[in-house]
Structures are given as structure tokens and as C-alpha cells.
């Protein structure tokens, strides 16, 4: 499943870049994130609890940031599994100055399997967009608070 979007954030490209590389900000803004432990450079062990349709599940896995071209681009990979199935995602984030702010363009491809795929698939696009929306709203507040 392909997901994409564009968000306008009220901060400079450099500030946004710093924030989206800051484990503390990621921890605060990722919906359902229970744990984010750095296990190597730009590699984290993550535990997420997400409910999709009637299926609430906890997923343990890794999150890695690669292909970094500071301060405008990185690739993020997510790989997690739990009782409710598995998810595997890959996406890119690109930043571009836009007036005083920054346009953040994200594109992702998410594969899910197991229970969530069978039961929650119809909701997944919507839920995915909602969760990503929450993430950026939080980031926006974070950045707004910082300026």
C-alpha cells in the first residue's frame, strides 16, 4: 500500500531536519510508540501499539534511517511484527524551503500481513493517513513551540 503526502512546517529546513532526526521528538510524536531504543547509529528498536479496526496489536521491530543527505533527504525503514501480524514499510522524506517554513514531502510503501491485513485492510489506508497526520501535527506543535 502506497501512502504519500506533503506537510508545511513552520520552521527552517535545518530545524526540521534536526527535529526529524531527534529521537526525543520521534518518541514524542510517533502515535502509539511505547519504546524507542537506539541500538546503533540511526537504528532503533521500537515497540508500537496500534489499533486498526477491531484489531489492537503491539508490534516490536526496528526502525532505521539511511540514505541521509542532510539536511533535505532520508530514507526510513520500519520492520515490525507481533501477535496481530507484521508490518514492513519503507519511505522517503524530502525537505524543501517554502518561504519561512519547510515543505516536507513523504512517500511510503507499507506492507502488512496477518490478522491486521485480513481484518483491517479496508481501514488501513485511512488509519495510516490519520496516524501520519497525527505525527506531523505533533511535529508542527513541537516546531511551533521551539520558535
Amino acid at each position: 500500500m502506497r501512502l504519500e503526502g506533503t506537510n508545511l512546517l513552520p520552521a527552517s529546513v535545518e530545524t526540521v531536519w534536526k527535529t526529524i532526526n531527534d529521537p526525543e521528538a520521534l518518541r514524542r510524536c510517533t502515535p502509539g510508540l511505547k519504546e524507542l531504543k537506539e541500538i546503533g547509529p540511526d537504528t532503533y528498536q521500537a515497540t508500537l501499539t496500534i489499533g486498526i479496526a477491531a484489531v489492537k496489536g503491539t508490534y516490536a521491530g526496528t526502525l532505521a534511517i539511511t540514505d541521509k543527505r542532510a539536511p533535505t533527504h532520508y530514507k526510513i525503514s520500519l520492520d515490525g511484527s507481533g501477535g496481530a501480524g507484521f508490518m514492513k514499510g519503507e519511505g522517503t522524506v524530502d525537505l524543501e524551503p517554502q518561504g519561512d517554513g519547510t515543505t516536507l514531502k513523504w512517500v511510503g510503501d507499507l506492507q502488512i500481513g496477518g490478522l491486521i491485513a485480513g481484518v483491517g485492510q479496508r481501514m488501513l489506508g485511512g488509519v495510516g493517513k490519520m496516524l501520519i497526520g497525527q505525527f506531523f501535527k505533533c511535529l508542527e506543535q513541537h516546531l511551533g513551540g521551539g520558535t
Binding site: G113, G114, G118
Partner: protein, 779 residues
Amino acid sequence: MTTRYIGARIPRNEDPSLLRGQGCFVDDLQLPGMVHAAVLRSPHAHARIDRIDVRRARASPGILDVITHADLDDLGAPLPKLIPHVSLTHHKTQQALASAVVRHVGEPVAFVVADTRYAAEDALDLIDVTYAPLPAAVDLETAARADAPRVHDDMDSNVCAHYTQRVGDAERARAQARHRFAERLVMDRGAAAPMETRGVVAAWAPRTGSLEIWDSTQAPIPIRNGLAAMFHLPQQSVRVTAPDVGGGFGPKVMMYYPEEILVPFASRRLGRPVKWIEDRREHFVATNQEREQIHDAEIALDEHGHIVAIRTVFLYDAGAYCPYGLIVPIVAGTTLPGPYRIPNYHCEFKAVFTNKTIVSPYRGAGRPHGVFVMERLLDRAARELAMDRAEIRRRNLIQPDQFPYEVGLIYQDNAPMRYDSGNYPQCLRRAVDSIGYAGWTAQQAAHRAAGRYVGLGVACYVEGTGIGPYEGCRVTVEPSGHVFVATGVGTQGQGHMTVFAQIAADALGVRPSDVTVRTGDTAAFGWGTGTFASRAAVVAGTAVSLAARAVGEKTRLVAATLLEARPDEIELEAGTVFVRGVPARALSLGEVAAAANPLRFAMPPEWEGPGLEATRYFAPPSATFSNGVHACIVEVDPDTGALEILRYVVVHDCGRVLNPMILEGQIHGGVAQGLGGAFWEKLAYDPQGQPLATTFMDYLLPTAVEVPSLEVEHEETPSPSNPLGVKGAGEAGVIPVPAVVAQAIEDALRPFGIHITEMPLSPDRVRQLVAEARRQPCD
């Protein structure tokens, strides 16, 4: 002998208990000390298993056992290959638990037994499996290509069989034909969705070294035989009972599902009865499915609309393994010619592995596919040649004086197809008359003028039924006069308890309510193959008749001694046995039964043993062929895609009718399942092989709202192939439904020029087709 009950519309013996909630299904069993199992299933369509760690699960409260492939020893080997075929070059079967690779979502990986199902399910989450996902072959056409990811890495491709049957010379005939029309026809996946999912209870008795199993299966005897071999037990030490079964429809004739081995294995390991009941979500990934085929087909005709050749080259999706062999594609290809004279026929298929749930027969078992292809080709030809739809069919029908009719193909039972009897023009005439075909053009024009899109469809089929190898029956009269009938073919709702009782009652001069039928219990009758392929009435019904008649002969023999008459002077009627013309010289049937089992003194040698009891077998050398015509009128809303079925007429011929009420029930259920497969039910998979419809919210079964009131008419052409003259009817209802619905929808939407080449449709798909057509307006 007078027939009193065969053919009568009598209520079913099984209904009082079922309707009062007093049936006994597998999940109703509560054995002392029984524990509960749950299955860990693969969430991946294709993956290597790198590691399975069950330590946390084992330590979880209430957990008694966690079983993986490593625990199974020789039970971990690939499961038996059921139905081999010379063209099936790669007969792959699954393991009870996957050892190294999982090949579809839902494939069993571990088996947990706990005090409660709740605890077992929770422990599934604690099993850590490390999977290395592999590329999946999902789309059928892509999977058939040489460069597709391979489902089985020891094969060069995913093609496990390539089989061709030919009648005449289709190549030459089509080259010389006046007209040729080709279609690409696609049928997607569906599920049988019985009300009762699968379930197994097993109880190992250590003192006797015996295994007792209750299984929601269509084939208890083969299950017994297979388990005895796998567990190295005498067959006599294994008893398998299929108690009340809440619908089978084919997938439950599959043997052996992994759980049928895992549950008894766990019971023996733990020394306790173990129960496993499939939940509905599991059912959507773990019980066999059907229907996916892609046909490239062509019809060739002469200038009068006579068929000169048919050609189909198709792909059949086998799923991840093919335990059941090539039955479904063979049935599809051999059902295609139907009631039509087709002098030249080329039928070629490839069976293809995909990373999806295993495919095995589901009610119709390929027949709906064959009929869909044939009837769509005829519809196309009729349109192109500006011929009437009923007329092109009528013109090509096999005539009543052409029986027996050699089709020239080899059927699923490996025997040549030879239509035994039928009156195809009569069935078509009756259906066309009932639906009001003659006045249809005017009627449709009136609907159009009123802004309504109403269409009519009419489609024919022939169904091979009643195949061998054999079934048997033992009939016993007890001293009470009550008759017991035991046979191997279990019942999943078809009414065996009633029709077999009717057959025995007529032979013995008793009422059906005096007859108790035992089926599906290997301890009651241990020979047989199972309930499938519309064969119970034909094969087991005939065995019942033969056995009951033999008991009647024995009754005459014994009564002749007692009543001092000749056996041929003895009559059986209303539960009494008397000398013809002298009703006062009579005994009750029970008295004769008691006398046939003397306590002292010599027994006449001509009795050949005690009691009023006989066992007989019936082994038909080949199938007997039912046929029918469905016609319907539908209304389609081009804006919403909604379908309403206004009328639905079934005229069918399954030979002599045993019980019209039960038969109509069979037809009704079949049509309902056919409508589901034609319009609502679709098992969608995503490109990675994840099933997207695993609940009834996504997998839409037709309900009482969608299924119309059916008009069913019986035509009776007795079968010359068995003494009762019967033919099978179990699958008839479902077979032509996709074909007739497609034609009716096309007719309704003729102003848009819609062309239907796929099944199932859906409101959404109809809307899409209308939208596409609106962009390309036609005349």
C-alpha cells in the same frame, strides 16, 4: 413391490433434533479432562522459517504442550498425495506443521494445547518465529510465467501439471469454420463458507491403545484409514465419527487437514482428549478454497450457427499445494461441452502453484467454470450472428434419440464420458416457457421505456454425478421391528437420514420413521469413500436398496418356514409379513427377525446365517449425467450497480426423484451459493498474497434479501445406470448460475454495450463497467 415412499414429499427424519437445537456437532462434545488447542499460522504468503522459539509460550499459564515440526517425527512428512494423475508431475502436499518454508498465509507453524482455548490463543502470541520473507507468486497469470517467484524451489516453474484432452480435430475444424469468436474469461476465488467451520476432537485411550476421533468431515472412513496408517495402529483401533456436520460443500472432503493429524497426536502425547475448533477467520485461510481459473476460449461455427469446434486453454490456480490432484480443472474441462453436440473440442490446462490457500473441490468443483465458458461463448456467437439466444442453444442440443451419447472425453473418475439419458430440448423448452421468453422483447422494451434496466438469461448444463468407486450398506431388522441402515457416506445436511430411510422402507414394507440411518461412523460401517461429487443418492442409495431388498428376501425365506408357505408367496407390508391372499397368516416383521436368531435347535442352512441382515455394495462403472436449464430475470441499477433478481426458474432432470422437498432444498441452496459466486463473494488477495476478505464483513454471502424465491420444476428421465433410476443433484443448483446471471446482466445493460467476461461481479464492478461504457458510447 409397490413404491409408497420413494418419490414422496415427506419431512426429514433429521429435522426434529436439528430444529430443537439437539443436534450434536463436534463442538458440542464435552469429554472429561478435555483440553483445547489453537494453531499458530503463517502471517506471510511465502517465507523461510529461520527460527522458532517456543520457550515463552511453554512457560505461559495453563499451557500443556507446544508442538512444532521438530516434535512430529514421521508425522512431519508431507501429507499423503490423494488423487494422482499421470499429468500431475509435481504432486506437492503440505506438512502438518511447516518445517522450513511457509507457502501461504494461514499455513500451520505451531500447535498449542492448553487448559482453555483462551490460554492457548494467548500463548500463540508468545511464540517467537523469525521469518525471512520470500517473494510470493500471487496473481495466477504471473505465477504461470517462467520468471515468477517459485512456490516450491525444487521446481523449474510453478506449473505442476499440463494436460490436454481432444475430441476430433479442433485445429482443422476451426481453420475451416465460417465464424470464430474468442473470449478471455476469468473466474476469481471463493469460499464454501459452511455454517459450521472445521473441528476435530480426539481421545487417545492408553489402556486399549485406541484412538477415537470426532471430525467435521465428509470422509470419515478414509480419515480413519489414513490415521491408522500414520499412527501405526490397526484400523480396528481407530474410530472416526462425523457427527452432525453443519455443511460441507466439498472442502470438508479434503483429507488430511493438518489439524486432523495434530489433534490426535497431541491427545496421544498428553493422554487427554483434545479439542480444536476452527474459528471463522482461520476458516478463510486454512480451509481449502476454489474457483480461480482463466480461460482463453474460442467457439467456431458454421453458417447456420452449428458449433463445429470449441477450444479452451486455461490456467488453474492450485494454491500452494495440490493434495487433491487435478479434479477441479478436469471437471471444468469435461463439463464445458454440456448438452451440446461439439464434434471437435480442444481442452488444455496448466495447473499452477501460487502462494495462496490450497484449492480443492467446492460445490460444482469446476462445473460452474466450464458452463460459464461455454455459455459465454454461445452468447457471444448469438450476438455476433444476430441469432436468438435460446435458438442457438436449441440448434446445438443433443437430441433424446442420441443416448447413450459418447462425449469423447475422460471424466474425473478416469472413465469415458457417456451421457446415459436425458431430454435436453424438453428442459430448455420448459425453462423458456416458464420464464416467458416468447414475450420477452416486448416486456423488456416496456421496462426500458419506464427507465428500468431489466434483462433475461437462460443457460444449460450437464452434470456428471454418481461416480464410483463404490459405497456399501448394511440393513438390519431388530426384534422390535425397527430397521437400522448403516452406510459409509456421511451427511452434511443433504437429508440422507430420510431418503435412505425411504428407500429401505419401500423394500421392507415399513414406514421411513421405522428406519434409523447411521452414517459417518466408522464403527457402524467401515467401508466407503465419502460424500462428494453428487454421488450419495446414486451410489449409497443404490447400495441401500440392494441391501434392503436382500433383507426382504431373507425375511421371505424365514417367514416361509414359520408360516408354512413358499417364499414367493410372502408379502411385506405395513410392518407385517403375511401369506399373499391370507392376511390372517401373518407375523410382525419383528417376530420374523426374532425367529431368525434362534437360541437353540438347528438353524436351516438356507438361511445362510442368523438375523434379518444383509450388506451390499454398489460400484458404478461410470457416472450418470443430470442436466438442467436455469433462466432468470434481473434488474440492474446502472448508477449503483445493484442487482435485483426478479425471477429465477430452474428446470432440472436428475432422473427419478426420491423426495421432491429435499431435492428442492438442494436446488435452493445451490442457487444461493451460485448467486454468491456470481455477484457477491470474492476472496481478494493483495499483491503480496495477503487475503483481504477474512470476515463476513468483507466476504459477502447472499442473504434472504438477495436470494429470490425460486421456481423449481423437475423433469424425470430415469438413469439406466442404476436400479433406482436416480442421478445426483447435490451440485446442480450452483452450476449454471454465474453463466445465467452474466447473460441477464448483459441483457439488462445492453444499451451500454457491456460485455461480461468475469466472475464474480459486484455492484462496484458493474458500476465500473457502466462508467467505462459511458465513456465509449455505442449504438
